[in-house]
Each structure stands twice: as C-alpha cells, then as structure tokens.
C-alpha cells in the first residue's frame, strides 16, 4: 500500500496551520499558547519560587518541574480521567529533559521553576506542542535561556515520511511516530522518541525533516514573543 495523499490533504512535509500567543495567563510569571491544527497547549510558568517539600531542594541549583496534563474534555474519544497517570508522568519528564539543556538555574539555589501545561483539545503531537508552548512561557517569564526549544512529531505512514502527524496518522496501524525537539540556533536535538517500526535511514530522514520544520515553528515562537510587547 502506498500513502499517496494525506488524510487532510497536506503535503508530506507540510505543517498544520499554527498559531501562538504569549501572556495569555496574567497571573502567571510567564505564559503562552501554541496551537498546531487542533492540538492546543496552554503553558504557565510560576517561578523561580520557593520549593516545598524541603527535601526536594537542591542547594546548588534551582530545579525545573513540568506538569503536563490533558484536560478531561480534550481526548479524541472518551473523557480523560483527571489525575494524569503514567502517560502524563512520562511526558512531563521528557518535556523537562527537552527544555533543561537551555536553562541555567544556578542563580536560584533551593528554588523551583514550575511549568504547567494543559491541553484543552488534542489531535496528536501533544508533547511537541507542550514543549513549544513551555519554551515561550519560560522566555516570557524572563528566565535566562541559551535558546528557545521547538518540537514537532515526524513519522512514517505506510511508505512515506511525514511531518506533524494528526490523530489518524498517529494511530494508523502501519506507521511510526517520532517526536523531535530542536534548539533552533544550534540545531541540537533535546527530545527524541520513537514508537513503531522504521529503518535507520527513515529515522535519519525524519530527524532531518523535523529539524527543517522546526525552523518554521521557531519563526512562529519569535513572532509571538515579540508581539507581546507591541502596543495593542
């Protein structure tokens, strides 16, 4: 079988329509929204701030905590039971590992930077949207960062390498899903996961195309951050 046309008619390397906005949650120290197709991620940053319980404090550096959560009405099918679960825990951890390389929290011993990411609607690519939103929110919070972080899911559907998979592509029985996070200025990869079945060449093609797609995502992030301070 050959995947000749994507379910939604996009080009194989074409991203879904994106939008981003920074400063959407005034109570937070930093916040941002990132939307790709129907997947929407809201991120809020609180910190650096006091960390409890005390045993979690690190006297040499501040720590980063990510809380990723899908809102109960955001799932493709049934209601998502609140309370996260193993999937949310794992995704929170990979988001943290994707972002930590750009942060230097040595100036904040014993403190914590909390990032909460909530998704009101989803259509695959959730951890990538979460990373993209969280990076903008951290910048909005005034934290020192070596670079922003952008992420997109690459993958294989039958015989084609595609970028920014939607739900139907992600759940297609003959395929693979490969989320990638990239630091736009150095091109380094900070998130790499895969599930499915791919050859090494296909993986390399995915990563190359994902990095290329991230350039466009970076432009959206930059524009949203700059627009934050233009007189409305």
């Amino acid at each position: 079988m050959s995947y000749t046309k994507r379910f939604d008619g996009r080009g194989f390397e074409e991203l879904r329509p994106m939008s981003a906005k920074v400063g959407i949650i005034p109570r937070a120290d930093g916040s941002a929204m990132f939307k790709t197709g129907k997947t929407t991620a809201l991120a809020a940053v609180y910190g650096p701030r006091d960390l409890h319980p005390k045993f979690m404090q690190n006297p040499e550096t501040g720590i980063l905590r990510i809380f990723y959560n899908m809102m109960p009405f955001s799932g493709h099918g049934e209601r998502v039971r609140p309370g996260g679960g193993r999937r949310s825990k794992e995704i929170s951890m990979v988001i943290q590992n994707a972002i930590l390389p750009v942060l230097d929290l040595k100036d904040y011993p014993n403190a914590v930077v909390d990032v909460f990411v909530e998704l009101p609607q989803t259509d695959a690519g959730t951890r990538c949207a979460a990373i993209t939103a969280a990076a903008m929110a951290l910048a909005d919070a005034g934290l020192e960062m070596k670079d922003l972080v952008c992420a997109v899911a690459a993958g294989r559907v039958e015989d084609k390498i595609v970028i920014d998979l939607n739900y139907y592509e992600d759940s297609h029985e003959d395929g693979a899903d490969l989320p990638v996070a990239v630091l736009p200025n150095s091109g380094k990869v900070t998130l790499l996961q895969m599930d499915g079945d791919m050859t090494k060449e296909q993986i390399k093609e995915c990563i190359t195309k994902a990095k290329e797609a991230c350039k466009k995502i970076y432009e959206v992030q930059k524009a949203a951050l700059k627009e934050r301070f233009v007189k409305r």
Binding site: A44, F73, S74, E78, D114, Q121
Partner: protein, 258 residues
C-alpha cells in the same frame, strides 16, 4: 493588618467605589465563547474581567444507576488548576474546587435544567451520561459565578454524538445536530458581605476581606434553584433577603452573555 485591610475596603465601599472603580453591584465585563474545544461534545470559555474559566462536556452511554433506571446520569467536576493561580497546587480537587463543582451541580440538577428522563436510550439498559468538567485558566476572583456560567454555556453548546449499533458513542463520526434537553438556564450570582455592605464579583484583592457570602442560583423565571452560604460570619434573615434580591436583579446581566 487584616483588620486594617478590611477597614480600608469598607471605606471604599461606603462611597460605592470598588478597588477597580466599579460600583458595589456591578459585574466586570462578561464574555462567553462557544466551542473552544473540538474534542469535547460541547465546550465554552467564560471571561469575567480578567478571570477566565473553561468548561467542557463529554458524553458517553452507560447503564443507568439501579435506583433510577429511567434517568440519565449527570456529573459536574471542577478543578482549580495550578496553571491559574500561584497559590493553587497540582493534585486532586480540594475543598474550594469541590464546593464550586457541587454548587454548580446543584444549580443544574435541582433546577431540572436538563430533563434527565429524556436522556434514556433504552430504559433500564442504556442512558446518556453527561460529564461536565470546569477548569480555571486565570483566577482574578469570582470563580464560582464564572464556573456556573461556563458549565451552562458548555451544555448549550453540546451536540449529541452518533451511536453505533451497540448504542455506544461513535467518537469518530460527526456529531448530530441534536442538543441536550436543556429547558432552563440557571446562573449563579455570589453576593458578598463585608461590614454592612454587599457587593458582587469580588476581585482577588477584595476576596481577602470576605466575611460572609451567599451564592444564589436564579432561573429565567427569577426563582431560586440553589443556595450556598460561605464565609466565617453569620448572616441575618434581613441579609439573606437582601442578598437573594440582589442576585435576582443581577442574574439577567450574566444570562445576557450566553
């Protein structure tokens, strides 16, 4: 300092001036946006001033509860998301979130705004289960009223999904054009008492000085379908009378936004 903060607020209320310049019985601008989550069967976003709350409705089909074989199921949940206020911690709903959910539930259920008898697919075997989830996005005070309005708007926005041959929901198919059997629109107005003054739609700054509050759910006909008193200080019968009066007068302001 607590006493002094309250005294300072009372000074302003005595002149009918709130901390943001509003009058005591005035709401901040209210907006309702429908269909903010395509994953939900119905959803809405409510803004009251800077406070923002989202609500979503997810439908499924279940067996009915054994003691009500001819009624559908209704559940209201609320979460004070850590996202929306630095003081909120991640974790299961605490007292405040539970109260918000239960008071909204009371308004929707007791007003019979949804006729649960019309939610039956096969009596005794299959009924609709309506799950309403309320999530706070930005807390600048007045969450209870925003939560109820968001839940109501999400219910209004809801369209029944198609059922498959087993009478289970087919989430992949397009939704039908049929809505829920919604006959009433109860809105909640929370009236606050500080000293001898009453006001509505408290800012976070004003919420610190609350002595007593009464949440009143009012239907379009002006009848009251739910009440909840909160706050540490007692209310006199005259107070309650006045507060219900205020709620009945202000309910149309909120309902107008729907």
């Amino acid at each position: 300092m607590q006493k002094e903060s309250k005294a300072h607020l009372l000074r302003a209320l005595a002149k009918n001036v709130r901390y943001d310049g509003r009058k005591a019985l005035e709401y901040r601008p209210v907006t309702v946006e429908y269909g903010i989550s395509e994953s939900a069967e119905g959803s809405a976003r409510v803004r009251i001033g800077g406070t923002e709350v989202m609500a979503g409705v997810k439908l499924e089909t279940n067996t009915p509860y054994p003691d009500t074989p001819d009624q559908g199921n209704l559940m209201v949940n609320a979460e004070l998301m850590a996202l929306s206020n630095p003081a909120f911690e991640p974790g299961p709903p605490g007292e405040q979130a539970t109260e918000i959910a239960r008071v909204v539930d009371r308004a929707v259920r007791e007003s019979k705004s949804i006729d649960v008898h019309k939610l039956v697919i096969k009596p005794g075997e299959k009924v609709w289960a309506v799950n309403i989830d309320i999530c706070t996005i930005n807390d600048e005070g007045g969450l209870q009223d925003a939560a109820c309005l968001a839940a109501l708007a999400a219910l209004k926005n809801t369209r029944l999904p198609k059922l498959n041959e087993n009478d289970d929901v087919d989430y992949d198919a397009e939704k039908t054009k049929e809505g829920l059997p919604l006959s009433k629109q109860p809105v909640e107005v929370t009236v606050i008492k500080v000293g001898e003054h009453f006001f509505v739609d408290a800012l976070s700054e004003e919420e610190k000085s609350i002595e007593a509050r009464l949440t009143v759910a009012v239907t379009e006909k002006g009848t009251v379908c739910a009440l909840q008193k909160g706050g540490a200080l007692p209310l006199s019968v005259e107070d309650i009378d006045k507060m219900i009066d205020i709620a009945q007068k202000l309910a149309p302001t909120l309902r107008k936004a729907l």
